[in-house]
């Protein structure tokens, strides 16, 4: 396939995938798009929303649409790391045998991840970054494509363990699942309370996903766009060379280099989905919120003023845009 055909194939595959998910998941376009972008960019997603908004359904439907293994882990405070990764079990034959945990799947749904202890949460770290699990000194590779989709409930914070920054940084996107509108809700009710449930067909394979990831990596990024993206990352640091005013006021720690990688990767996927061969500044702006919102560590003042991470990201984007002017003034 040449470049044009590759791009065409990518768009077609992703359109089909989205359409297939859309059969089951009503509304939530941004969330679905975000999950698909993360899938194409080989990233993991943290979904935050109230219970019953279809988070689990989305993951399950995605797994069905690409016909890949899917496992769901319900995190609880008494869960141990071995419950996630697996363990060596003594067998009747007299030896030890590694019994794989639920992490060994293509799509892993870590439901209510913030209810597990930090120890258990950290068991995901190696799997998410290295795509392998080490048990008893023996590394066990995870099968590609591998994607973790964790959910967390913004309410009922009692008895929960907020995710450590190191783990948050490993999530490519943090998507906020909004409450459905009345029209969407009516559609949800109609689809689920009458007739038969829609059946999801397989529209892509594991190989297709890997191919899609390879294609998106080829998308061009001009030096100006790269500079624009990096300016955004730098502006999120209150103690950087050019911090934005809002970051200086409300941010304790800015985005990590992994954030810069994520924003460019996401921009590439967005460009491909939009039928372009280059990343635009608009793509970077679109990726800014899902990439940066969980990577900014806000200070007490933001909490006191009721400023959210999304508002801070908006402020950073505005500050960077203000400095980005037309080079020709006539």
């Amino acid at each position: 396939m040449n470049g044009l055909e590759s791009a065409e194939w990518f768009r077609k595959t992703w359109t089909n995938l989205r359409a297939e998910i859309g059969k089951v998941v009503v509304g939530q376009e941004e969330v679905v798009e975000g999950v698909l972008v993360a899938l194409a960019a080989n990233g993991h997603v943290l979904l935050e929303g109230m219970p019953g908004l279809g988070k689990t359904l989305l993951i399950r439907t995605l797994a069905q649409a690409v016909d890949l293994d899917y496992s769901r882990i319900q995190f609880t405070p008494d869960m141990m790391p071995a419950d996630v990764t697996g363990t060596n079990v003594f067998t009747q034959s007299g030896g030890f045998e590694f019994r794989r945990g639920p992490i060994f799947a293509n799509f892993v749904l870590a439901d209510e991840i913030n209810r597990a202890t930090p120890k258990t949460q950290s068991s995901l770290l190696e799997a998410m970054q290295e795509r392998q699990v080490s048990i008893g000194g023996t590394p066990h590779a995870l099968t590609e494509p591998f994607m973790v989709m964790a959910t967390q409930n913004p309410v009922e914070q009692e008895g929960t363990y907020p995710l450590p920054e190191a783990q948050l940084d490993r999530f490519f996107f943090k998507l906020i699942v909004p409450n459905p509108s009345k029209a969407v809700l009516a559609e949800v009710v109609n689809r689920t309370t009458q007739g038969e449930m829609a059946q999801v067909s397989k529209v892509a394979s594991a190989e297709d996903l890997i191919q899609a990831r390879r294609i998106t990596r080829e998308v061009s990024v001009s030096p100006e766009v790269l500079d624009y993206a990096l300016s955004m990352i730098v502006a999120s640091h209150p103690d950087s060379e050019k911090p934005s005013d809002i970051a200086k006021k409300y941010v304790r720690y800015g985005a990590s280099p992994r954030g810069a990688q994520s924003i460019i990767s996401a921009g590439k996927v967005y460009a491909m989905l939009e039928g372009r061969f280059n990343v635009s500044k608009e793509n970077i702006q679109k990726a800014a919120k899902p990439v940066l919102r969980h990577r900014l560590i806000l200070n007490y003042e933001s909490e006191a003023d009721g400023v959210t991470a999304d508002q801070v990201v908006d402020g950073i984007v505005d500050a960077v845009n203000a400095g980005d002017k037309d080079p020709i003034r006539v």
């Binding site: 470049g3 061009s220 001009s222 939009e274 372009r276 037309d326 080079p327």
Partner: protein, 579 residues
């Protein structure tokens, strides 16, 4: 890539055109504003700026602005970025510009995509030629400028009478302007600032005349005033020219002096007139030649200046020089007198000698004491106390001489001297007498400072008044004599050195040995003097003397009962400090 570059050039040309358009308007706006300000300043007579020049300034700035806009550098990348932004191409063009030949997977597709999108965009849509606020402002200011120029330079709105009056004034103004130009063009003006100021005032006067701001009377007054200023300036110019001429002469003289190798003897051959001599004296003073050693200077000056020196040259001579000159004059006068008395002279020789004697006499008079000094001395000598003191002094000198010859004073002599001293001391207790003496002395010192009394005269007077007489030793008598002192001494390092200068010689005589009998001991302390001041300050010599005294005390050279007294004495001298 080639197509992409062609398309970018298309946009680049458009950008250049729009910039030229905008630059021209910006130039017109700024030029008109400046021109308007200058025309206004000219109208208010602050500067000279012909109104028509305002239009030229506006046009020139328009052209300059357009030129700058056209020739300002435009990079293709900037055009690409700008087009992306203005046409909403989502960084297609800039990315293609960078990546078209990078060999990346999507490079060709990227270029093709960018070219396709650029082809759909019209440059004039992205970079339109606008007529906005800037252009409107420029037009408005230009209109005001044109109106101002028209009103100032045009007679259309005037009546026939006003036109005639204006024509007359213009004629007068033209005349003034001619004068001004001559003033401005004139070379060699000594004071350019004054000339410029006068030219500006004349031009202002011309403008005021032209614009009818002055009535006839005022115009006359002002013209009169300016004429006076011009006359004054021309006089100043003449004076400065004369000064310059003199400077040239002086410079020429200096060159002559240098030609002569700085030898004053050779200057006689130059046959200088009086003015040249004065200039030469100034030059000598400036170059420090008058600081030459006294002897050399006296001889050279006598030779170079001859007998026709003015009082000013005489006043420059120091006391020592005057004294020396007087001695030489006296000797010369004696020689001339001898020659005249010898009688073996021709009439011409006699006449020449008489003339020389006359000149000498005049110079000698200048060296003599002034009437004031003579008067002060006379008054002093007539004072009763002074006469008493002189009498006592004579007796004491006789007594001293007698003692030096080994003769003892008789009891009668001693008693008489004691009585006289007590009498004098009693008289000196009288405040009026004391004050009269003090005043007389003060007057003498003043005269000495001014150079009216030489040092020798002063010393003689001091001697007459007994001022040189020191106090007696601890158990002996003492005497003082003033005079010049030349001797040998040691510096701080102990190296032998010549002591020169004027000073008071103090001789202390007395009984030093603890054993009975006489010990001829004379210690002479003569502080060296430089000019009128002691060369060694008191505080410099005191530690040395103190150390010597301490050494004498510690080595048992001073009798036990006197040791404390010696210590106390030095402590008091050093301000009561122990060491």
């Amino acid at each position: 890539m080639k197509l992409l570059q062609q398309q970018l050039k298309r946009f680049g040309r458009r950008v250049r055109l729009v910039r030229m358009w905008r630059g021209a308007w910006l130039g017109l706006l700024s030029g008109s504003a400046i021109a308007l300000a200058l025309v206004a300043a000219d109208y208010l007579l602050l500067i000279n700026f012909p109104p028509v020049m305002g239009l030229i300034v506006a046009c020139a700035s328009t052209l300059v602005g357009a030129g700058i806009g056209f020739f300002l550098k435009i990079s293709e990348l900037s055009v690409a970025q700008s087009v992306d932004r203005r046409a909403g191409l989502e960084d297609r063009t800039a990315s293609a510009f960078h990546k078209a030949e990078s060999g990346e997977f999507f490079a060709d597709e990227l270029s093709g995509d960018a070219e396709k999108h650029l082809g759909d965009v019209q440059p004039k849509r992205l970079y339109p030629i606008r007529f906005g606020t800037q252009q409107m402002s420029a037009c408005a200011i230009l209109a005001v400028l044109v109106t101002a120029v028209y009103v100032i330079d045009n007679d259309l709105l005037l009546t026939a009478g006003q036109k005639a009056a204006k024509a007359e004034l213009k004629e007068a103004t033209a005349k003034v302007e001619r004068v001004v130009r001559e003033l401005e063009v004139g070379e060699g003006a000594a004071d350019k600032t004054a000339e410029k100021k006068l030219a500006a005032e004349l031009r202002k006067f011309g403008k005021e005349l032209e614009r009818g701001r002055l009535d006839r009377e005022e115009a006359m007054q002002k013209a009169q005033k300016l004429a006076e200023e011009a006359k004054k300036l021309s006089e100043q110019r003449l004076e400065k020219a004369q000064e310059k001429m003199e400077q040239f002469q002086a410079r020429g003289l200096q060159e002559k002096f240098e030609e002569a190798g700085g030898d004053l003897d050779m200057l006689k051959d130059l046959q200088l007139d009086k003015m040249q001599m004065e200039a030469l004296n100034d030059l000598m003073k400036e170059s420090g030649a008058d600081q030459l050693p006294n002897n050399q200077l006296d001889q050279n000056m006598m030779k170079a200046l001859g007998a026709d020196n003015s009082a000013s040259e005489m006043a420059r001579l120091s006391d020592a020089q005057k004294q020396k000159l007087a001695e030489q004059m006296a000797q010369a006068q004696k020689d001339i007198q001898k020659k005249l008395e010898s009688g073996n002279l021709s009439d011409e020789q006699r006449k020449a000698l008489e003339q020389q004697a006359k000149t000498m006499e005049e110079l000698a008079k200048k060296l003599e004491l002034s009437d004031d000094v003579k008067k002060a001395l006379q008054e002093l000598q007539e004072m009763k106390e002074f006469k008493e003191m002189q009498k006592l002094m004579q007796q004491m000198q006789q007594a001293q001489q007698q003692m030096q010859e080994g003769k003892q004073l008789t009891d009668e002599q001693i008693k008489q001297m004691q009585e006289q001293m007590e009498q004098l001391a009693e008289q000196m207790k009288d405040p009026a007498a004391k004050e009269a003496m003090r005043q007389a002395m003060k007057e003498m010192i003043e005269q000495m400072k001014q150079g009216n009394i030489d040092a020798q005269t002063m010393q003689q007077m001091m001697s007459m008044m007994g001022m040189g007489m020191g106090s007696s030793g601890p158990d002996g008598s003492g005497s003082t004599a003033g005079g010049n002192y030349q001797g040998e001494g040691e510096n701080e390092k102990g190296d032998p050195m010549e002591l020169e200068g004027k000073g008071k010689i103090t001789a202390i005589r007395g009984e030093r040995d603890e054993k009975r009998g006489q010990d001829a001991y004379t210690e002479i302390k003569a502080p060296t003097m430089v000019g009128s001041r002691t060369s060694v300050p008191y505080d410099k010599v005191l530690p040395g003397y103190k150390k010597t005294a301490e050494s004498a005390v510690s080595n048992n050279k001073v009798k036990g009962k006197h040791r404390d007294r010696v210590r106390e004495y030095f402590e008091q001298l050093s301000g009561g400090k122990g060491k």
